[in-house]
């Protein structure tokens, strides 16, 4: 019986374990049968969470939190996991270690732990199978479970729920019959499970968990630790089509934000000697917003002679050429008109580092209010302009020759390619190419043939012709076994995988018989570790003579 992963959203997944669609909640009456079907025997001696297991506890499908080790099974049960309820650090550290140790295509069962409140986080951390035991044991204690936490049924006057139980019984009836409380708890858990699945399908479970973890400090602890984890960082996809919400200042710690910042600093290089600082806009990409259109219109073709850099929160700084890249085009934040100190510090320090790395002769800014404060805080030499008219005049006298629209467009595509594949790759990709289409949907063409296109999600996808231009790009190349792939390349077929590859990355694949391009579904580490599952969706390939 295989565990097939059908859909991944960072570390959460929708899969199939035999006939069971995961993430799944097992009913307590069906757990024994489930274990039987998987050939799992329940040992008589089982140590709790804080006691290391004895050597006699050696069922291969069970792993003890105090002795996490590699296992070759499609399903793995984490013993005593219910102990982690209410303990954010234990939960996070155990899950991280488990995920690091196991193959990605191992379904993880956390017994007696799931509640409507915590199941989103558990799935987010990469667990797949759950049960209703905690719903049952809570019910026996008179605990009425909701997504927002635990209520004592004896304190309830009315139900904050309209499940079949809550709409047909009174609070008194529930208080005197724990089986009714259990039924409600179970309903609430199943509801929440469906909810979570919706967010996985949207690719937005992070956004959901960022909200859901606020019910209890311990859940928030786990989320904060997640944001500091290298393991989980690598599983956050490089691109997505859905929106990116940053509704709390904590979101600044997200992998996407940190990754974007480091790539702007490391993979972007100046296209002009003049840097122009601009404020962000609500509409994305910025250049399509009314405020930016006004600037663009006023500066006209002069704009092509400067490097525009947009100051924003929580991304800090966004080069104009990278304004479509995830999450620059995707983010939305609550705009109050006031930045908090953390945001200002983050943006100003990034701005400073950006300027230190890139040699600009002059730095202009057309910003006001908090944006201006960010500029000042960065302690770099900036010439501020209060009107677009003054700015235009200054640019007119400063800029000698303006790049053509064609080369300007090429430079943008090149910058995005650098962002995706590393500094210097963009030039190879766009050399002599022509950019066609309506921004931000663009095609990169040469001799009437497509090299790449800027997709709806604001990032590039390659054709095999474009891929050939990037040949030798080790970090994004996958060496596959000696076969000619059709629709997708499964992980067992991967021999080597470039170390930079993340889920969502465009990759080149190759062996002695074939060369092609496709989209990575997992990061390189997982491609090599997984014994099953799609590693790359093939877009195009050429068979070698």
């Amino acid at each position: 019986m295989n565990f097939q992963i059908k859909r991944i959203d960072a570390s959460a997944r929708i899969g199939k374990l035999g006939n069971l669609e995961t993430p799944a909640v097992l009913h307590h009456k069906k757990i024994k049968k489930f274990l039987e079907d998987h050939g799992i025997e329940i040992p008589e001696i089982m140590t709790p969470f804080s006691v290391a297991p004895f050597e006699i506890q050696n069922e291969t499908s069970l792993v003890h939190p105090k002795k996490i080790e590699k296992r070759e099974t499609e399903l793995l049960i984490l013993c005593s996991s219910s102990y982690m309820s209410g303990k954010g650090r234990e939960l996070f550290e155990t899950m991280e270690k488990l995920k690091k140790t196991l193959k990605p295509n191992t379904a993880i069962y956390l017994p007696a732990l799931a509640t409507p409140e915590n199941i989103a986080l558990l799935i987010f951390l990469g667990a797949d199978v759950f049960d209703d035991l905690k719903c049952l044991s809570s019910a026996m204690k008179g605990e009425y479970l909701t997504r927002d936490g635990t209520l004592s049924v004896s304190n309830l006057e009315r139900f904050p729920c309209s499940c079949p139980i809550c709409s047909s019984y009174t609070t008194e009836e529930l208080e005197s019959n724990w089986r009714l409380i259990y039924s409600h708890n179970f309903n609430a858990l199943l509801n929440e499970l469906e909810n979570v699945k919706i967010f996985i399908r949207k690719g937005m479970l992070r956004e959901y968990v960022s909200k859901q973890c606020r019910t209890s400090p311990w859940l928030t602890v786990a989320l904060r630790l997640y944001d500091g984890s290298e393991y989980y960082f690598k599983r956050v996809p490089i691109r997505r089509t859905s929106q990116f919400y940053a509704n709390s200042s904590e979101e600044i710690q997200r992998a996407e934000i940190r990754r974007f910042a480091s790539r702007v600093l490391e993979r972007y290089y100046p296209k002009s000697k003049i840097l122009l600082l601009l404020p962000c806009s609500a509409v994305k990409p910025y250049s399509l917003s009314p405020s930016h259109r006004r600037i663009i219109k006023s500066l006209g073709k002069l704009r092509r002679g400067v490097d525009e850099l947009i100051i924003t929160s929580p991304l800090g700084i966004v080069p104009r050429f990278l304004e479509t890249v995830y999450p620059a085009m995707h983010y939305d934040i609550p705009v109050t008109g006031r930045w908090d100190e953390e945001e200002k510090k983050w943006a100003s320090s990034l701005l400073r580092e950006f300027v230190e790395r890139n040699q600009y002769e002059r730095i202009f800014a057309y910003v006001e209010g908090d944006y201006r404060e960010v500029c000042t805080l960065s302690e770099i030499e900036i010439e501020f302009f209060n009107t677009l008219e003054e700015l235009r005049k200054e640019l007119e006298s400063e800029i000698e020759d303006v790049p053509t629209q064609k080369s300007y467009m090429r430079a943008q595509i090149s910058s995005i390619a650098d962002y995706q594949f590393g500094k210097g790759t963009g030039e190879k990709l766009v050399k002599d190419a022509e950019i066609r289409g309506r921004y931000p949907k663009l095609d990169v063409m040469v001799d009437g043939k497509k090299l790449a296109s800027l997709q709806g999600d604001g990032m590039l996808s390659l054709s095999v012709l474009g891929g050939e231009r990037l040949k030798g790009l080790k970090d994004y190349t996958v060496i596959i076994d000696d076969f000619i792939p059709s629709g997708s390349i499964l992980s067992p077929g991967v021999l080597e995988a470039g170390k930079e590859i993340l889920s969502g990355d465009e990759v080149l694949f190759e062996n002695s018989r074939v060369f092609g391009v496709g989209r990575a579904v997992m990061c390189s580490e997982d491609m090599l570790k997984a014994s099953y599952g799609v590693a790359i969706n093939v877009r195009e390939k050429v068979v070698k003579e």
Partner: protein, 316 residues
């Protein structure tokens, strides 16, 4: 302050011997403590003192003063081994047995010992003074894995069998203690374990079912504090008493029964159930178990489902 010349406790109760009920004096002597002192659930070592021979004899004098006029049974417990000369030096043992033999109304003397201290010559000598001697051994379980890993008892079932053979051949009585719910077993497995153990004991005059209670300073207490161990339900004690093979006198007197640290139910029915357990221990009559309570349903679920948490109590 623990006094070396006074026993740790003396109390009076009643017990059943060979079908009749006798008043019993239970006396806990303070010795240097159990030589093994490594069982996960045992906190009796806390009671130990560096008692001299003189101290021990003084302790026994205090005990002697509590002897009744009528026929009675005497339990002398050291929370260790009565036959371990490091706890009870030979001279003291002889003196105690000699004094006891002078009481014609003493119908039974019960002492405890680990199997390694049960020796033919010691028993022979003791029986020559007290023919009604009963030796109690804390076998805890017949399962060597459980005894080793969950209890850390430090002897095997074979060791027990050997000691029990010596006891049988010497003509003494044998009392066997079984532990209900050592750590790392689910409620259901704990019941199964005791029932299996009773089946495995081929000869004993009394089998005493001892549900674990949480002693201070023990490993079990650490688990208990982390909510990783729950003492057994009183329903489980009842279950064992009802379902077990009645090959011997089957008794139970749950230490700390009805409290969080001892075998307990919901709190409402505990006292009634404890009364029934005591009554059964004296009468061996299963029909004493009449009490019903709504918490029994929960206990049944625990029996059915606790294994499925893979190591943590389902309901604390």
């Amino acid at each position: 302050m623990k006094k070396a010349n006074e026993p740790a406790g003396i109390w009076r109760s009643a017990d059943r011997f060979d079908g009749e009920t006798l008043p019993t004096i239970t006396a806990i002597m303070r010795t240097r403590g159990c030589r093994w002192n490594s069982c996960r659930m045992c906190g009796y070592f806390e009671e130990h003192v560096e008692s001299t021979e003189e101290d021990l004899l003084k302790q026994f004098k205090v005990i002697e003063r509590n002897f009744p006029k009528e026929e009675f049974a005497l339990k002398i417990f050291t929370s260790g081994s009565f036959f371990d000369p490091r706890e009870i030096p030979e001279n003291v043992r002889r003196e105690i047995l000699r004094i006891c033999s002078s009481y014609k109304n003493l119908r039974r003397l019960i002492v405890e010992s680990r199997p390694e201290f049960v020796k033919e010559e010691i028993l022979e000598e003791a029986l020559s003074l007290i023919p009604s001697l009963e030796v109690a051994i804390g076998l805890e379980t017949s399962d060597d894995f459980i005894r080793n890993f969950c209890i850390n008892k430090g002897f095997s079932f074979d060791d027990f069998l050997e000691a029990s053979k010596i006891i049988k051949n010497s003509g003494a009585y044998l009392r066997v203690y079984l532990l209900l719910k050592p750590p790392f077993l689910s409620e259901n497995t704990a019941i199964k374990d005791v029932l299996r153990s009773i089946k495995a004991i081929s000869w004993a005059s009394t089998i005493s079912i001892n549900p674990v209670s949480v002693h201070r300073g023990t490993e079990v207490e650490k688990l208990f504090r982390r909510r990783e161990y729950r003492p057994p339900w009183l329903w489980s004690v009842v279950e064992v008493l009802r379902r077990c093979e009645k090959k011997a006198n089957i008794i139970s007197d749950p230490t700390g029964g009805g409290t969080k640290r001892g075998a307990h139910n919901c709190g409402k029915c505990d006292n009634d159930i404890l009364r029934e357990i005591r009554k059964f221990s004296l009468t061996q009559d299963e029909s004493v178990f009449q009490k019903e309570c709504e918490c029994k349903e929960k206990w049944k679920e625990v029996l059915e489902l606790e294994d499925l948490t893979f190591g943590t109590p389902l309901l604390f």
